[in-house]
Symmetry: C2
Subunit: 417 residues, 2 copies
């Protein structure tokens, strides 16, 4: 009989056995990549922007021409050109350029400036942009500038944003909507992302019936099969639902072999077997095909959780109680999925005030599902095993194993689900 | 020219014009419903559990038979039966039952009890379950109970969890993994959810090239087209990407008509047109086909945002700057999507300490994107329009319009993205 592990020990065991160094990947459209895990570092192939860009609507100037200007004594400038969006003008201030007939020669003695829009390309020879709000239009293409600008003002220079060769996104990052924006800016229409793990979901228990069936007295519907499939999908996996397996060792061995070999599952979740004898059945089955890593977690709910390794694949035995199975998925199955994907879980947390005292638990870390209302955490109570406890969960709080209870009003860290 | 609205006024305008009372819906598998919006109230058709269930492994007893028991003087009981998972036994304590030959008569004078597993059906006539940990096995099917139980202990009674007729989930709820568990428990294999809105995405700007193209000087890739499509998908819509439309009124009118009539878009996002003249082009196009609701939001970034209504469909003009477009999507486009779906956005927030002072802004509410590291909010700075600002965003904080700046260490509310 293996020892019961603490939650921290469980995470260590998971990292030790299931951390991967090589990954399967697939190429997908960047637009479809939100929530997926980046397979390779993204290094910029180019400077962004690729040219000096104005950040405002106004006039590109030589900053020195605006020095000393004010509302009462504006600097008078000649608007020689207008930069159209998506176009450039190649200027040479008072230099003849026979080589390139597209070049434009601007008389630098006239305090020249060019009209430019936000995002427009600032021509060579100009080093700042004056906002249109600080100018006044005169006749004959003349303007007055009422506020001096310093060199560089209102310009993003070539490569200011991202330089060629910059590491922009790291392999293993979970991609966000704004990452998609960055990838689009750098021209990545497709990217390589880690393949989703196939998560086999097996429910055991002679009391279980399909969710489409009406249970007789003594029977209950297979809640976990459906809920764990939804969780597998939400947290980056592909659910391979095996349905209900009768509660005998031979059936379970065959199904587990099938899951691993024929269905190519990467992670297997066996839930249920909540009757006294069945608790050990999953453990026995794992031991007969592979190795059991631990048998029980010092946590409430979730104590009967087991984890083993068969053909190098993680095989969980999850509690039959839906609330317990759900919490174990949140805390531990997600860690295994993250190992498979080579990423780290970024849990969103907040600080909330407990709306009532929570009494001490005894030697086991306790996971308390809570409802969050205006910054107040309301523990969801009720007898163990109640389905209705699932309804209002916004997150959970963790009570350390040696805590002697928390008083009303205590500030606790809530982990969103 | 319409007034610039405050963010609160914008939300009011959105709710006034786009709140729906009837919704389109579709039937989907419950297992696929996470993140979807429930179309109809879910009312339980049955009691859960459907029978009195044990919450522990142990022995079903009459509580009164255990009164007075202790470690030193255990109550001695006879184990008359074992309840198998998924099965029931119908007992009659000392009552002859000729009507039902399956009934079992138990001699009540023997302190009878029945072995039961977690989840097992407690037979009639028994009113508590003693945990196996508080018992000791003797020979001849006798056990000793070392701790008394009160009636109801360790039993969930029929209907305790959910009663027939209970409102379990409300129409408009965004479904979670644990809601799927509840729906499975109640036998809902399929459910009706609101149809996703079709979100038309149009990019305008003569400087734009497709993300597959290499921009020449003066040109930039269409970041918003890709990023807004990813956002539309993430937040419950179906993206209908129109690509880049040249910056003239007639093209834009034709595309907008096409989006609404032929492509059946429910919400249209036109982004870009960041050059001075183009800012009004989207507004003119909306006015020529429908009604403009506002022209500008007193917010930074995002000021040039406009919203109109064409054929009863919301049409946004979003800023061309990706960071601004992203923030406006988070704050306002999501509100329109929520109106379409008949749900409310549940933003996850936390309290974080500012790691540096933020200077006052001037009459506009300011949205500051931040990175969150160990409870500290680090404002993401840099010139307006930088793509690389998008990389590290974990959330944003809102600086009220009349705030005179925030000092380092101030506790701020961070909204996760």
């Amino acid at each position: 009989m293996l020892n019961v592990l603490t939650p921290t020990e469980v995470i260590d065991v998971i990292n030790k056995h299931f951390t991967k160094t090589t990954f399967q990947y697939e190429k997908i459209f960047t637009v479809n990549s939100v929530g997926r895990i980046l397979h390779t570092d993204i290094i910029s192939n180019e400077d962004v922007p690729g040219f000096d860009r104005s950040t405002v609507d106004g006039y590109a100037v030589r900053a020195s021409d605006t020095f000393g200007s004010s509302e009462s004594i504006p600097a008078v400038m000649t608007v020689t050109h207008e930069i159209l969006m998506g176009k450039i003008i190649t200027t040479s201030l008072n230099k003849e350029t026979d080589e390139n007939p597209a070049n434009i020669t601007i008389d630098e003695n006239n305090n020249p400036c060019v009209a430019i829009s936000t995002g427009g390309a600032v021509p060579e020879g100009f080093d700042a942009v004056v906002m249109v709000e600080h100018t006044e239009s005169y006749s004959d293409n003349m303007i007055g500038i009422s506020k001096p600008v310093a060199p560089g003002n209102n310009i993003i220079f070539k490569g200011d944003d991202v330089s060629k060769g910059d590491l922009v996104l790291k392999a293993g990052a979970e991609l966000t909507v704004h990452d998609v924006g960055v990838l689009a800016a750098l021209g990545f229409e497709y990217i390589n992302v880690r393949k989703k793990p196939r998560i086999g979901i097996i429910s055991t228990g002679d009391e279980l019936v399909n969710i489409t069936d009406t249970p007789s007295d003594g029977e209950v519907r297979d809640v976990n099969g459906c809920m764990l499939a939804a969780a597998a999908k939400k947290y980056g996996g592909i659910e391979v639902s095996y349905g209900i397996v009768r509660d005998d060792e031979e059936s379970l061995i065959n199904v587990l072999k099938n899951c691993i070999k024929n269905l190519d599952c990467d992670i297997i979740l066996i839930s249920g077997g909540s009757s006294a004898g069945d608790k050990d059945k999953t453990a026995k089955v794992i031991e007969s095909l592979g190795e059991l890593l631990f048998h029980g977690i010092a946590i409430k709910p979730g104590k009967p959780t087991i984890l083993g390794i068969v053909n190098e694949k993680p095989v969980f035995g999850l509690p039959g109680h839906p609330v317990a199975a759900y919490m174990v998925f949140e805390l531990f199955v997600r860690e295994v999925i993250s190992c498979y994907l080579g990423t780290t879980i970024k849990r969103k947390t907040t600080i909330a005030k407990l709306n009532e005292a929570i009494s001490a638990n005894h030697g086991r870390e306790e996971i308390v599902p809570v409802k969050l209302v205006n910054g107040v955490a309301i523990p969801i109570k009720g007898k163990s095993g109640l389905i209705s406890k699932l309804i209002d969960i916004n997150g959970y709080i963790i009570i350390p194993r040696n805590c002697e209870g928390l008083s009303k009003g205590t500030e606790v860290e809530l982990v969103y689900v």
